[in-house]
Symmetry: C3
Subunit: 363 residues, 3 copies
């Protein structure tokens, strides 16, 4: 897999300068780059380290003085971070999986596979499942009865897709992801302690001990186009309607999406986020790592949460939130400063009480 | 799968009214229901939307004026949420797995399978394992040496049961769940920094750098009857005795139950909860999503925690807790209000200090 | 599996007293021990319960009056907790897996397996993978193209190792662990709301709605010697360089290690911890359960965090931290006390304001 600097720049829609015919077979950090690797030096402090490596060519920012770094060629990118997307796609070596259906895969005769579909060893595809053209279904995967996967999808090893789950085009699922487990929904014969507490916010009082009856999940999971799901992430089926994830939304590892949740388009849901049942998330929302969102609430479009935020109530569109409980980020940052000064505040008030109760003698 | 309104009401033990012979082949939300689906309209605001759909029959609350909604028949449920349990069970289409042992499954000749057991493709059942009558063991599952699963259990795809794990009747495990991984237990040759800090609460001081020696897990996992475990949840083996989960307890996705933990009966453990080693949880406890519980502590019966609660110390029975650190829910809600007013408090104290040190002239 | 008290003491390097020829076939808690089991009674309160069981021999602390407990023999350990490591290793019954390569395993002809390697059923080992001598690769595992695993490793059931991942000697991976999923790294064509917010800390303002372009992961994962990874934990590939975990580090269940993260040696990373992309963690660091660490920061050597800590900024070496946001543990404990007294503080200030604005009459 080798490309010239000129070819790479053309693919990225950026400008190439110098000896643009140099052949490149990979990318590397500046200090680690060999003579056939393209160094990634998006900022001046990274470019400083070019001299520690052997790169003849690098990706630099738009107006970089590339020759000053001793380079023979350069790609000058107006937004270098965005150039990373195209660059890494060009040099991705993938999984090395062969094309075609592995003979050990068990594909039900009632399953429908589009042209160009590959299926790895020990994978099971059930009756009525549809797998779109050019999908790559990895080893040890499971595709349940009646599930549908759009064209050009990629399931890494051990992905599990439950029955009747519907997935759009260009889907990517990382190893061990689970779509279509049953929702976590239980009910007691009489009003439960949890229901009482939601009303009273107080202790649970007289609630009788009861056992939990299961509410089965009849809904499915519906995933839009261009969605990616992280390793060991789980998305539960809805109770009656489906749990939904909109087009272009990307979900990281070990995320829990509860039953009936609806997530809009182009969201980023970071690692270890949990979204409880029936909550709705708007479009272009970014939930930082370890954010938790209560059930049955609403998060508006364009909301961003910082790491560890616990969302207990609705958030209007456009807000940037942080903390437990979630508040506007400036307010939480101010609160965090207050935390550091709280002890002094207690001391000040104690002193004031003493002063005020024993005023200085009035002479 | 079709039932009359009369049959459904009889199964639920509720009252049917109107044209109770109407055949129903599924359930739906009011606005989405077809003429052969039963609309779920448990509250007046849901019932308002019946006119957007085509339902001829619905489930309503006990004294609903069902004819006013243009229905031909209705099921009137005194606790509609509880009726959901029976209703969804009646219409659950399941996984569509065939009965019997798939020829690709590898079942050790020393394993014992009860009557009516089904086993999916690529599943492994080891020597000495016992699988109770009418269990459904899904595809790509693993049942370790000497493990026991009671009757009528269901393992969804890719569930892993370690050696010597013991499970009661009617067990359900969602995809990717792991029971019987080894506990996370390590020890240093000399007192470690962590042990010092537990005493001093201060910085770790002189603690020498040491490597960790592994404490192997010799205990197993013991699971009662009627337990459900969520997708990709993990329950570790005990060190000497077993880790235990009591009858009727339900555990959601991505939950971590550490070694030696004991959980009582009829608890609900929500998504992304972590319970550290050797902690004991009473009966009828509800741990809200993302609750974390320290090791070696005790949570009494009937305790409820809200989302994101971090429990660092014992909790007496019956308490409803929230926050980091966990405090009584009212106290935490009051604290959260204080957070929003803290800045003003600092300002007030600053003003008071100025006023008191410069008292108004006494004339 | 049976050993005499004398043999056990010799293996542990500790002292045996009394009838040291007694044969022992297992270990147990004092109250549950049979006559052929060694009771573990590391502290006087545990030893009290010896009379409830049938143990003839026990492990006690160094200067214990062992005969007073009615024992016939004892092992006296200067650091009993450390003795647990050797003891539990001696009595670990393991998985019961047979030696050799299971005929159902699919091992590419280009894979290289060292002497004494065992491979379980339905496992896939890809082209160019190297598996070191005496490794035990469990059932239903996946070892990707060009991955390398050092000698004496153990992969429990369903472990997934991505392409080009490199792992040292004596590796242990618990069921369902995933090494080498792709990093969660996306970029928008123009500056995104997240980038704006990182500068402004304010609301995201005018940020245009944009879709996310994928940055592919070209790096791998590099794991040192003597590392253990918990059940369903995920470690992502790096973008250009590799994600790294140092020698002797132990990682618990359901932990998320993001792309480009570097973790030093002999760390303990507890359950449900998340470490976001490109963060560096020093040596001998202990991250308590549910700790979250932001991306692109640095945690120094010997740092310890308590349960639920959210780390939003660098931490210097040696610090013991707790809370959200992470502060020194004493400061957070003090803050937690302040939380409980905050209401009274508001009342005091309200009272002071009243008193100061209406001073007592000056007569």
């Amino acid at each position: 897999m080798s490309h010239t600097i000129e070819q790479i720049a053309a693919a990225l829609g950026t400008r190439a300068v110098g000896a643009v015919g140099i052949e490149i077979d990979g990318v590397a950090e500046p200090a680690a780059a060999s003579a056939t690797q393209l160094a990634l030096a998006m900022k001046p402090q990274f470019a400083e380290r070019l001299k520690e490596g052997a790169a003849r060519a690098a990706v630099l920012w738009e107006d970089a003085d590339w020759q000053a770094y001793g380079l023979e060629a350069a790609i000058l990118a107006p937004r270098p971070r965005f150039a990373m997307s195209g660059l890494t796609r060009m040099f991705d070596r993938g999984q090395g999986w062969p094309e075609g259906i592995h003979p050990s895969a068990i594909i039900h005769e009632g399953a429908l596979l589009g042209r160009g579909v590959s299926v790895g060893p020990f994978t099971v595809i059930e009756d009525g499942a549809h797998v779109g053209e050019d999908c790559v279904i990895g080893p040890q995967c499971y595709v349940g009865q009646g599930a549908r996967i759009g064209p050009q999808g990629l399931l890494r090893e051990g992905v599990k897709i439950g029955p009747r789950v519907e997935i759009g085009a260009r889907f990517i699922a990382q190893p061990g992801a689970v779509l279509g487990g049953d929702g976590f929904s239980f009910v007691t014969p009489e009003t439960s302690g949890v229901e009482q507490v939601r009303k009273s916010l107080g202790d649970r009082g007289e609630a009788q001990a009861q056992s939990w009856a299961r509410i089965h999940s009849l809904g499915a999971v519906e995933i839009g186009d261009d969605v990616e799901i992280g390793a060991n992430t789980t998305i539960d089926r809805g109770t009656i309607r489906s749990t939904r994830v909109g087009d272009g939304t990307k979900i990281d590892n070990l995320v829990m999406i509860g039953h009936n949740v609806e997530i809009g388009r182009d969201c980023l849901i970071c690692g270890l986020v949990g979204i409880a049942g029936s909550t709705r998330i708007g479009n272009h929302v970014v939930l930082g790592g370890k954010t938790g969102v209560s059930d049955n609430i609403f998060i508006g479009d364009n909301v961003i949460t910082g790491g560890g935020t616990i969302v207990l109530a609705n958030i209007p569109a456009g807000r940037v939130m942080l903390g437990y409980p979630a508040m506007k980020m400036e307010a939480t940052m101010e609160l965090f400063k207050g935390f550091r000064r709280l002890r002094r505040l207690f001391d000040d008030v104690a002193q004031l009480k003493k002063t005020v109760s024993n005023p200085p003698p009035n002479d």
